[in-house]
């Protein structure tokens, strides 16, 4: 099996505080991997290392086959990233956002023009292509933000709380898009505080105080701790009761 993410003993310290402590995980192609943990558990620090934004203190990791110490520029070209807080520019139109991100990802002009037209058609946004993002309904914005994160055909997309504060219908529509991307072979690395969404992942890791304390499919984890829901798994592990 070829792993899109592979880490061994990945560690990051800030002074005498160990934010990420010897994390070893492997994530496969087309897998939906849920990266769970309480606020302050170290998830953001781990994601910053995996996206080439922060150098680890020790340990090894490759993302899309590239080394997190020496090949951070290649990593950035081969991943997509989206969060609830940072996605599209609200004052730009749909078309302008696509063009901007296409440029950031280094797509050539002709390729970008084709992809932009294709994307606008596929999302049914032809009538709204020259509308500023700020006026679009949230569901459309989310669809577009996710598609833009995939514009350059990355091997993996990092979704950092993509559905925080989002209503139940829009959240479900968003997950449908996640499934489609995973079916097409994109690896999805996602954080969420909605435990019903944790159930939608192929596998889950649970981080507590910088360490991965549990790893498995939702069914395995619920079985291991003898509980009915992922919420119960989360609460037990986060409170250190397991």
């Amino acid at each position: 099996m070829n792993h899109v993410i592979e880490t061994r003993g990945l560690t990051r310290r800030f002074g005498d505080f160990t934010a990420v402590d010897a994390v070893s995980i492997e994530v496969g192609r087309g897998e939906i991997f849920g990266f769970l943990g309480a606020n302050g558990a170290g998830k953001t620090t781990a994601i910053r290392m995996l996206t080439g934004l922060l150098t680890p203190t020790e340990g090894e990791a490759t993302v899309a086959g590239f080394d997190v110490y020496r090949q951070t520029e290649q990593i950035k070209k081969n991943i997509g990233y989206m969060s609830q807080r940072f996605s599209l520019y609200e004052d730009l139109t749909v078309r302008e956002n696509i063009r901007f991100y296409g440029g950031v990802y280094g797509l050539r002009k002709a390729a970008l023009r084709d992809r932009s037209a294709d994307l606008i058609d596929r999302l049914g946004l032809r009538d709204a292509a020259d509308t500023r993002i700020v006026t679009l309904p949230l569901g459309w914005k989310q669809k577009l933000a996710f598609s833009v994160a995939l514009l350059h055909d990355p091997a993996i997309v990092f979704l950092d709380e993509p559905t925080a504060g989002v209503d139940p219908i829009t959240r479900r529509q968003f997950w449908q898009q996640i499934y489609e991307a995973a079916d097409a072979g994109v690896t999805v690395f996602v954080t969420t505080h909605y435990m019903d969404e944790a159930e939608y992942c192929d596998r889950i890791s649970m981080m507590v105080d910088g360490r991965i304390v549990a790893l498995g499919s939702p069914a395995e984890l619920k079985g291991r701790y003898g509980v009915a829901t992922m919420n119960d798994v989360f609460v037990r592990l986060a409170r250190g009761e397991a």
Binding site: G40, D167, W175
Partner: protein, 306 residues
């Protein structure tokens, strides 16, 4: 009949061509824990900002703790606690400095009100010298709640206080709210989490600037009009596709590890539904009739009115 803690009559607010709040009326009783749920853009924040005197309505009237939100806004502000959706404390001040600042704005001190905020503030005390910006998400929310309570408000307005907060911190935050409510404070709170909506005394569903309904959470859940099944199976996508193709199916939604299917009454028996799915090659299928949750109702109403 006592005066409601919050009394909204036909309140409107428009921004350009957009009607954010469209002639909305609402009563929140004294000492009630009242929840507002609705999609992004429903107008929840605009409604809350009018109630806390930060926006002036274009029409209608609103009174909070008996005071008019326009005419009596100065007096009202001393009786209101407000937590906006964005974390709005001073990130470069310490926990204690933030709290002291808000106390002084309202002409009081931490000491004078320590007992009042203790249930919320006590877990933060070991970190009182830490910069607010360096707190975890759950602790930031506790500090914001402490600051909103320091002047002993009669009415507390919280705009999505737990968005982005983990499950354990959320549950602690709601225990705090319940403690605050029991001291006689009226609480108006919006949330995107349905497990929180269930903990309110009453809940309003808001969409497109109007209320779709106001009731106790149990009554809202019970208002679901169709038979509802929880279906589990190995392949969720195939399961959902097969369920959508069933002639009696009304709606299909993924719901954690199950799929919820609403059907037209009278629904097929769970056994016949299982048979139907097995005939389509799906394995390991279980079907059971289930009680609707508030989230089922919310999605149903959003789709029929949206």
């Amino acid at each position: 009949m006592t005066v409601p803690a919050i009394e909204v009559r036909n309140v409107r607010k428009t921004f350009g061509a957009m009607e954010a709040v469209a002639g909305l009326s609402l009563d929140v009783e004294k000492e009630e824990l009242f929840g507002v749920i609705g999609p992004d853009g429903a107008g929840k924040t605009t409604l809350f900002r009018m109630l806390v005197t930060l926006l002036v309505p274009d029409g209608g009237t609103a009174r909070v703790d008996g005071l008019d939100v326009v005419d009596d806004y100065r007096m009202l502000r001393t009786r209101l606690g407000y937590m906006p959706g964005q974390f709005s404390l001073y990130q470069d001040l310490s926990v204690e400095e933030n709290l002291a600042f808000f106390a002084r704005v309202f002409g009081t001190t931490i000491d004078a009100n320590y007992e009042w905020i203790r249930p919320v503030y006590e877990p933060l005390e070991p970190f009182r010298k830490r910069r607010a910006g360096a707190l975890s998400g759950g602790m930031k929310q506790k500090l914001a709640l402490s600051c909103a309570l320091i002047h002993r408000p009669k009415v507390l307005v919280l705009d999505e206080p737990t968005t982005g907060v983990d499950a354990v911190s959320r549950s602690e935050f709601w225990q705090n709210l319940s403690a605050v409510q029991s001291t006689g404070v009226t609480i108006l709170v919006s949330t995107a989490y349905m497990d929180e909506a269930v903990q309110c005394d009453r809940v309003a569903l808001m969409q497109n600037g109007s209320l779709l309904g106001v009731d106790r959470p149990q009554a809202i859940a019970a208002s679901f009009e169709r038979p509802l099944y929880g279906v589990r199976g190995r392949s969720r996508n195939e399961l959902m596709a097969a369920l959508r193709a069933h002639p009696k199916t009304h709606s299909v939604h993924p719901f954690g590890d199950a799929v919820h299917v609403a059907v037209s009454a009278p629904g097929p028996s769970p056994a016949s539904m299982t048979g139907y799915l097995e005939a389509r090659g799906l394995q390991g299928v279980t079907v059971e009739q289930i009680e609707p949750t508030i989230e089922d109702v919310f999605m149903e109403r959003m789709q029929t009115t949206g």
